[in-house]
Symmetry: C2
Subunit: 487 residues, 2 copies
């Protein structure tokens, strides 16, 4: 158990076991691991360990377990929920997977690849492409996030509609458990009904139940032809109708269904070069769709144009443009990929990652718009979302100056999020669709999660990690601050 004064020995013991080249105590080697990429959360740790293999991870964890030293696992450090950096005065260590970045195996005849946890997402995507296969996870941070972090946070992104979340793309895992044992579940089987599903416990647990060290991932055949379109719509309800209709007309071929408010496209046009919207911004809603198939682009485009013509006649669509070539297609996606930067430039965006059932999106948007408008009449509502997943990134934007004049910023943040999360809960939705909990959403966990559910989660945590050393005080709020039965 923890004893004051033993901490120095931990660093020395780690250096002795792993080699001093793998354990860093201070200086520029250490600083980047202590602060998140936004620069909003900073902490400290006794040292940063950079293991070279699963055995090193196991040795590190076993030692920390023996001395009850907290471990903060870190992948690409791209968490938006402060899940990857230690807190202040953590008294623990950061364990970075950055050196374990190998692609171990790629097998198109097995539609599978096996990678170490520190492998960058972009590197995994590229390794799949080399054998003419697709690894379909795709998100903004793909150049710097790591597969292990993607799994630990069950990452989402733009490919979920067709290929699922990261959870759906994992065939097997290798995990170092909180006592230093290694669970070797690194299999590529499509079917295995021999006992409980352990894999999914670690996926999305944000490193609180163990450290993922390697993963076997699903690969898919490449859909060689892709057609994209941008569609302007007069009503959010019609956006759901058009999305549902496209899903029916292009079964298994509709691979992206991204939603923008007009306010979002205006910000992108204003702040990002070469990202003007090719349609007039006088409609309130826009959809960016991808249709991917083995069918020729010509046939796909014809079918898509037919469908959109029908939807226009029905008054559901105001205007639409189908990309005529790869350059136009890239231009449409450039708009989508510019959203984060545009919003950052535009002002202070209080962002929320909610999801509701797809059919409930119009109701949520309508009620949320009313409530935010009443409470914060000068704020602008800026929405970008994955409509096919019912997942909205709902931003309440204040100009930089206006935000500077807000006297109690923390309270304003809370008031905004309370409105949105309460409404999401009323629609049987969630306050965290794809970004996870980290250290940011512990209060929401206590407020919105069913007490039975929280109790089951705590039961698992206590049994898997009785010393509470694995990314402690993340994901699960302390008992005693839970919601009552009034919600």
């Amino acid at each position: 158990m923890t004893r004051p004064g033993i901490t120095v020995d931990i660093v020395a013991a780690l250096q002795e076991r792993l080699g001093s080249g793998d354990v860093f105590v201070d200086g520029p080697d250490v600083a980047p691991f202590m602060v998140d990429w936004w620069g909003r959360a900073a902490g400290d740790a006794l040292c940063v360990v950079l293991p070279r293999g699963t055995g090193d991870v196991a040795k590190t964890v076993a030692l920390c377990h023996d001395h009850s030293v907290p471990i903060y696992p870190q992948g690409g450090n791209t968490s938006v929920c402060f899940g990857a950096v230690p807190p202040a005065r953590s008294g623990g260590i950061v364990l970075s997977l950055a050196r374990m970045d190998a692609v171990l195996d790629v097998n198109p005849r097995d539609s599978a690849m096996t990678v170490q946890a520190g492998c960058l997402l972009a590197k995994a995507q590229a390794a799949a492409l080399e054998v003419d296969r697709l690894f379909p996870l795709s998100l903004g941070a793909e150049g710097s996030c790591q597969i292990g972090g993607n799994i630990a946070t069950n990452a989402g992104g733009t490919g979920v509609l067709r290929y699922g979340n990261m959870r759906d793309l994992v065939l097997g895992l290798e995990v170092v458990l909180p006592d230093g044992r290694i669970w070797n579940g690194l299999r590529t089987l499509r079917k295995d009904n021999s006992g409980y599903d352990l894999k999914n416990l670690f996926i999305g647990a944000e490193g609180t139940l163990g450290i993922i060290t390697a993963a076997a991932l699903k690969l898919f055949p490449i859909q060689p032809n892709v057609v994209s379109a941008l569609i302007a719509l007069p009503e959010i309800d019609g956006a759901v109708t058009v999305g549902t209709d496209l899903g029916t007309a292009f079964p298994g071929e509709l691979t992206a269904l991204e939603l923008f408010s007009a306010s979002q496209l205006r910000l992108v046009a204003r702040h990002i070069a070469n990202a003007a919207c090719p349609l007039a911004l006088d409609s309130p809603w826009f959809l960016l769709v991808d249709i991917a198939s083995a069918t020729s682009c010509k046939v796909l485009s014809e079918r898509l144009v037919d469908r959109l013509a029908g939807a226009t006649d029905a008054g559901l669509v105001a205007d639409a443009v189908v990309a005529a070539n790869e350059r136009q297609r890239a231009a449409l996606w450039h708009i989508r990929h510019s959203v984060t930067e545009a919003n950052k430039t535009a002002g202070m965006g209080l962002s929320h990652d909610i999801a509701v059932p797809v059919f409930a999106v119009p109701s949520f948007v309508c009620l949320a718009g009313d409530a935010i408008g009443r409470a914060f009449p000068t704020a602008e509502i800026v929405i970008v979302g994955h409509l096919g997943d019912g997942n909205l990134h709902y931003n309440v934007m204040f100009g930089h100056d206006a935000w500077a004049r807000v006297t109690d910023q923390a309270r304003t943040r809370l008031e905004v999020s309370r409105i949105l999360y309460d409404l999401a809960a009323q629609h049987r939705g969630t306050f965290s669709a794809e970004h996870g909990i980290g250290a940011l959403h512990l209060e929401e966990m206590a407020r919105y999660k069913d007490p039975v559910e929280l109790d089951l989660m705590r039961t698992i945590k206590r049994r898997f990690d009785p010393r509470n050393i694995m990314n402690p005080f993340r994901v699960l709020p302390s008992a005693g601050c839970d919601k009552g039965s009034h919600l």
Copy 2:
């Protein structure tokens, strides 16, 4: 805790709490619940409870929990692993979900439906079709198995290649926990990263961690056009090559890839009416493929014929027939659906439900054929499998007379399965791909599962069900009979 003599009170207490019309003690109302559909496993119970709703289930479980009375949950009683009937002298109760068979909600705008656990699979499929959607789970027992049982056993079947196992089709669950509390996780969200994934713990746990009472399920758009073909192949290695090639040529469109040995098709032709193979049976292997798409059957057929012509030129395919109409297509699938009945008629088939990585199927088939041939030269090897999942139903067939002459049948069963399961393990495969464990495979769990994995599973079981009342002594073998480190 359990006290001898209290058992009579349990039945009375259940009758008092639920009403005597819901609790059956003996007679013809009870008998069918005590024996499995094969008639191979029979047991007994204090009573059969047929709850009318989740509240009834919770009351029943709470009472049994208070008195440590074992509960054997039963769905459609179609388990092939003796997982759904009580053992002899069980001292427990059977809890059947048969009366809880309602379709609660079907929402095409949410691509989701919600059903009670006792809903027949066929009824759920039909409810989806009514709103022009597909619920893609498909298996032989679909007319009598229940959704709750499908989830508890993570059912597979013929649609896994395209749509995944039952696990992949579940959006949310309602579960009565072993202490009688209700976990309401009945959500239809596509994304929800707020804490641990509890859902997947209950899926595939075969009722040992709680009783699933309702489920929210994914629906899919219907692929309107389907083309089927039967393909004769000279080599098993070529079957994997052709399957992989078809997957690449028809991305997202290849929905079935079923494998037969020639011996299997011979048995079907011999014993089943109108199920003769349209191709000569002088090739050793056959594939039945479905290609489903929004593209016209004409175009799909042309693309398929082109691909098969290429494979024939390459020597991979000996012969092939593409169904020219729906009647021919049904005739091909009639062959597939007749396999179980044909094998039952033909003799004593020792059947095995193994899976290996897809690329390892040829190696497994080759080595298994050699080993079985050496050990049992008079037995016939009959294989039907889901090649796209690496899942083979590997039957070692003895004629009825020959089997009657086997002096130690139990030993022969064990010798055959040991050969096959050891080989599956050597190929990083599993002894139970889609049928589960039940009471049948406890020895294999002890022999083949990693000790760390077994330990984690037992940890979960002990914490969720400390009194061991939920389907006790199924899935997990007793500690003490595990494998050593020699495997």
